[in-house]
Symmetry: C2
Subunit: 221 residues, 2 copies
């Protein structure tokens, strides 16, 4: 097992520059990260500056708050696909869930799933788990199973507490085995990263990816 | 002068529910706020639950990080207009500015302005001033003047320090008189609100609007 192959090397702060993208590309070439996860506006730059790349291009939509119209999320996803994104992490409509409008959640996820399929991008649905109750998370798992989603991602990293091991275990228990899990939000060191993987995470979203894999080199086998 | 008529009574956190919208509507009827500023997904609900309203419906797009594709922002704006929004506050592409791609900023703002005009909504461009240098703010003012934008709004309230009086004065000095200014981000009491108005703000984005106008009743004339 190569820890780096679990990591989406990410920078999603509003002040992201081309210099940051250059760094993510270089570090991903050096350490072998699975993907870089970057703002939509930098997809074209990243594609042009990493033609012979060994990593996937991942971006976000409806980020970091999922209450925008589904039309906006779909427009974002389609444009990102056209610009070469392999994966798009979309924030679900948390407000709809908090108001109990599960039909909105389901119809939105259906539209996103269908569009992602048409555009040949891998969809990851960000559920912002730390703001949800256990029963809300389980309801999302049911919908995800029914829609056969590709990926559930725990958090944006912008709101609330860091991702918890227990959340990953809960998701793993309630999601069908075919649905993968991306743990994200406050995974800052090697031990945290390993805890998430042992709990069932298939992918990690991290910005401190380099120091995480450097931790590996000393203690990981 | 009625302070409430300067205020966009706002709730834009990811956990916004219909109960919050009900509260914003009721408080706006009671205190006479200029607008309610709410997540896109609640526009229809607000319109249906405040048919005889005395306030404007305002929402956001590309919020709170402006690095999404312009196609997504336009799709959001158009859908919000179709659902009855009077005003849309859109976050500009801060990443483009930080990388020095002013042509992206300008072409995006041109597309947004033209679309807002077609849809008959008032566009407010959120510049996230507290993350910009003075020279970047002045450059945005030049573009805003050239494009004859309706409104420049200081901040989303999600990143960095509260809005400063000096920023409003800087904007007022460099923007054409016809371009209005919305101050937002951390305006928590009556004194802060009055400082912004005296510095040149035409509108205030606040969530603590009720306690702000209650401050008025004691000390404002």
């Amino acid at each position: 097992m190569q820890l780096a192959q679990y990591i989406d090397h990410s920078y999603l702060r509003p002040d992201c520059t081309e210099q940051v993208i250059d760094r993510l590309i270089n570090e991903s070439m050096t350490y072998g990260f699975k993907a870089i996860c970057i703002p939509p506006m930098y997809l074209q730059y990243a594609r042009e500056h990493a033609e012979e790349r060994s990593f996937l291009l991942c971006t976000v939509a409806g980020f970091p708050i999922g209450y925008d119209h589904v039309e906006a999320k779909l427009a974002s996803l389609q444009r990102s696909a056209a610009l070469g994104a392999d994966e798009v992490d979309v924030v679900i409509n948390l407000s709809a869930i908090k108001t109990g409008h599960w039909s909105i959640t389901k119809s939105e996820l259906t539209a996103l799933r269908d569009n992602a399929l048409q555009c040949s991008v891998t969809l990851k649905c960000i559920i912002e788990a730390q703001l949800l109750t256990e029963s809300e998370i389980m309801h999302i798992c049911e919908i995800s199973n029914e829609l056969k989603l590709s990926y559930v991602k725990t958090s944006t990293g912008f709101f609330g507490d860091p991702v918890r091991e227990e959340t990953i275990k809960l998701l793993r228990r309630h999601l069908e085995p075919g649905i993968r899990i991306k743990a994200s939000g406050g995974i800052n060191d090697y031990n945290e990263a390993m805890k998430m993987i042992r709990a069932g995470a298939d992918r990690l979203g991290c910005s401190k990816s380099v120091s995480i894999v450097k931790g590996t080199m000393q203690s990981f086998e």
